[in-house]
């Protein structure tokens, strides 16, 4: 399997129009191996013939519920799954995720959001054995950072190495590139729970990080501060 788009996806929903929409959307995004089912029985029949790499499941089905179906089909192995349901109660969401599903999206949803979530799951589960994730290389204003070996390649040709903490901070910010990440979330990524008191240490690490990745650390263009809130990483591909 060369591309994540070649993964077989099983779509289960009792509404045929919605299944059509999902198929069109996924086809449009390059996914080729799609199976659909409107009932639990049909889903079992599809499952008997092929072993999908991802399941997108509705919860309310005519002959059962998506939670039980997921438990039954996933009993054999670790098949990633995303619940796509009109049930928006916290209890349902927590129950679905508690069963081991990778994500839970409530209807109505933006198709772009669904595509991004599916892509994220597939990349996490299947992308490791395929090509290296593009997220591992960050193109910043003043340098290129390869997170895999924590190396910084600056435009002037010099090469620097990030410390472990700096790499963890940058990874956390890169995972949410273009968005503000709170001090709390960054500290938690580095020091775990009970991070209180490390805010000053974080400032020091950020200063060192800027010295490595920014052309002018006093006027950062990639690693920005959101006053009172946290930090934001802008990469070259960010809008």
């Amino acid at each position: 399997m060369g591309r994540i788009q070649d993964v077989e996806i099983l779509l289960v929903d009792d509404n045929p129009e919605l299944l059509d929409l999902l198929c069109q959307t996924l086809h449009g995004a390059g996914y080729t191996c799609l199976h659909t089912a409107q009932t639990c029985a049909q889903a079992r029949a599809v499952f008997a013939q092929s072993r999908p790499g991802l399941m997108v499941l509705d919860i309310n089905l005519p002959d059962g519920d998506g939670f039980s179906l997921f438990r039954e089909l996933n009993g054999a192995g670790e098949i990633p799954a995303l619940f796509l349901s009109a049930r928006d109660a916290d209890a349902d969401r927590l129950f679905g995720l508690g069963l081991g599903a990778d994500d839970y999206l409530t209807k109505p949803f933006l198709t772009q959001e669904l595509l991004l979530r599916i892509q994220l799951i597939l990349r996490r589960v299947w992308g490791r054995s395929g090509q290296e994730s593009p997220a591992a290389i960050l193109h910043l204003a003043a340098c290129r950072v390869e997170l895999a070996d924590a190396s910084v390649h600056r435009v002037d040709g010099t090469q620097l190495t990030l410390t472990g903490t700096e790499r963890t901070i940058l990874q956390k910010l890169a995972d949410n590139r273009g968005h503000i990440v709170t001090y709390d979330a960054v500290c938690q990524a580095v020091w775990g729970q009970g991070y209180y008191g490390y805010e000053n240490s974080l400032n020091v690490h950020i200063r060192h990080l800027r010295e490595k990745i920014e052309a002018d650390p006093s006027h950062p263009r990639s690693l920005l501060t959101a006053r009172g809130l946290g930090y934001k990483l802008l990469t070259e591909e960010c809008p």
């Binding site: 919605l18 959307t25 449009g28 049930r87 916290d90 933006l110 709170t182 709390d184 209180y196 809130l229």
Partner: protein
């Protein structure tokens, strides 16, 4: 119950003591009154007693006579007749003595009339040195009775009167206590029943004793309230379920509208005006989704069908996350946002449902951004005694007066303004035991202050 019992006992004891006192005083007064009345009357009927008359009787050579201090009529005023018997029973002096009585008396006759009557005349006797003075009153005006008893009986009464009185007092007190205890017990049951009813519970009190009637009425009231509560609960549940059902059923059709509108919006083969129309359909679809979610949430909050998942969380972390999520959502990208957290408020602990509180603040921030593009939004948080006060303000046009009026609970004539999002803010803050204050910013804009109660601060957090 002990307090009620004590109170009742005190009241009973006071009432009994008071009653006895009043009765005694009344009886004494009556006795004195009667005695005084009849003594006065007797005084009018008989002016001098037998002893006084005997003292006035003197012997002269002509026989006996009453002395000259008063006339004979005056001395014997009130008596029908008078006579003096000598040792032999012979009448030696007499005054208006009826003929049938004017004879010598035997010892037997004397013994008889001194104790009873003399021919129906009630008589008074007095022994003088000259003989026996007998004064007769009109028949039917006096009552005479001789009384005999054993000395031992009187001695027994004399010895036993104090213990008997003490035993009676003890019995009365014990009776008071038993009666008070039973009364207090019955009243305490009724009082508990009233408390339970006031708290919205159901009661079934035993209908015995002197509170039986009250208990029966309370049981009837309780049953009626329970029936009404059940009807209200059923109606509320039906309404919440209906809204939840509509909210659920509308999601799949909305997903289709979203999906196809999105596809058309991104189709490069379509002219831009048609893609813009598709974008408008998607945006309006999102508005419908938010409205339905708000409607569902407000209905659940109103009827307590929304469980609060409360957990201790630090104010700084929670507020930063909420404001950051809002910034990242892109809703307020045309606005500037200033977040100012007092360092003293950083580690305050709230016992909160972070997701619901996030929803409340997102509604406030979203309102400022949507209604006032380009404005400056500020979020200031600080400690106010036992609360965390968070002020969300903007430099926009402020709340319309009609919105503030509706939020303050005033009914407006005509079309009501749309305040569902702000109403949800109010409901969520109230569900957390807090208060929310909607007002205007100076010089212009809206300003909302949310005050949330602080949880007990953990002891060993500081590292």
């Amino acid at each position: 119950m002990i307090r009620t019992f004590g109170r009742m006992l005190r009241r009973y004891a006071l009432a009994v003591a008071g009653g006895v006192l009043v009765l005694t005083v009344a009886m004494l007064a009556m006795f004195v009154g009667v005695v005084a009345y009849y003594a006065d009357k007797y005084q009018e009927n008989v002016r001098y007693s037998a002893q006084q008359v005997a003292g006035a009787l003197e012997q002269t050579p002509d026989g006996y006579r009453l002395n000259s201090d008063h006339t004979t009529q005056e001395w014997l005023y009130g008596y029908e007749w008078a006579m003096l018997l000598d040792e032999q029973g012979t009448v030696v002096w007499q005054y208006h003595l009826p003929d049938q009585l004017d004879h010598a008396y035997t010892v037997t006759e004397v013994a008889s009339f001194t104790r009873w009557y003399l021919a129906d005349y009630p008589v008074f006797c007095w022994i003088t040195e000259n003989g026996l003075l007998v004064l007769g009153r009109t028949p039917g005006t006096m009552f005479r009775y001789s009384f005999y008893s054993y000395t031992e009986l009187f001695q027994g009464i004399y010895r036993g009167i104090v213990p008997t009185l003490l035993a009676i007092v003890a019995l009365v007190v014990a009776g008071c206590m038993v009666f008070s205890w039973r009364g207090a017990k019955a009243l305490t049951g009724v009082a508990r029943g009233l408390d339970t009813l006031a708290a919205g519970g159901a009661v079934q009190l035993p209908t015995v004793g002197f509170t039986a009637e009250v208990a029966r009425k309370l049981n009837q009231t309780s049953a009626r309230l329970q029936r009404q509560n059940e009807i209200i609960a059923k109606r509320d549940a039906a309404r919440t379920d209906w809204i939840a059902g509509v909210s659920h059923d509308i999601r799949t059709p909305l997903a289709l509208i979203f999906g196809y509108a999105e596809q058309l919006e991104q189709d490069p083969a379509l002219p831009s005006d048609q893609r813009n129309k598709a974008a408008a359909i998607r945006v309006q679809g999102q508005t419908i989704r938010h409205l339905i979610e708000d409607l569902n949430l407000t209905s659940k909050l109103q009827y307590n069908a929304q469980p609060l998942r409360r957990a201790p969380i630090h104010a700084g972390e929670l507020l930063r996350r909420i404001v950051t999520d809002f910034c990242n959502s892109g809703v307020g990208e045309t606005c500037t946002l200033d977040f100012d957290l007092d360092p003293l408020a950083e580690r305050l602990v709230l016992d909160a449902d972070a997701s619901l509180l996030g929803r409340a603040f997102t509604n406030l921030l979203g309102n400022s951004a949507r209604h006032n593009p380009g404005c400056a939004i500020t979020v200031h948080a600080r400690r106010e005694e036992t609360t965390l006060a968070v002020a969300v303000a903007d430099t926009g046009s402020g709340y319309p007066p009609a919105v503030l009026a509706v939020l303050e609970g005033n009914c407006l004539s005509g079309t009501q303004p749309h305040v569902l999002g702000l109403h949800i803010v109010e409901q969520i803050v109230k569900a957390h035991g807090g208060q929310v204050q909607f007002g205007q910013n100076t010089p212009h804009g809206a300003r909302t202050v949310v005050r949330l109660p602080l949880a007990e601060e953990p002891n060993s957090e500081k590292q």
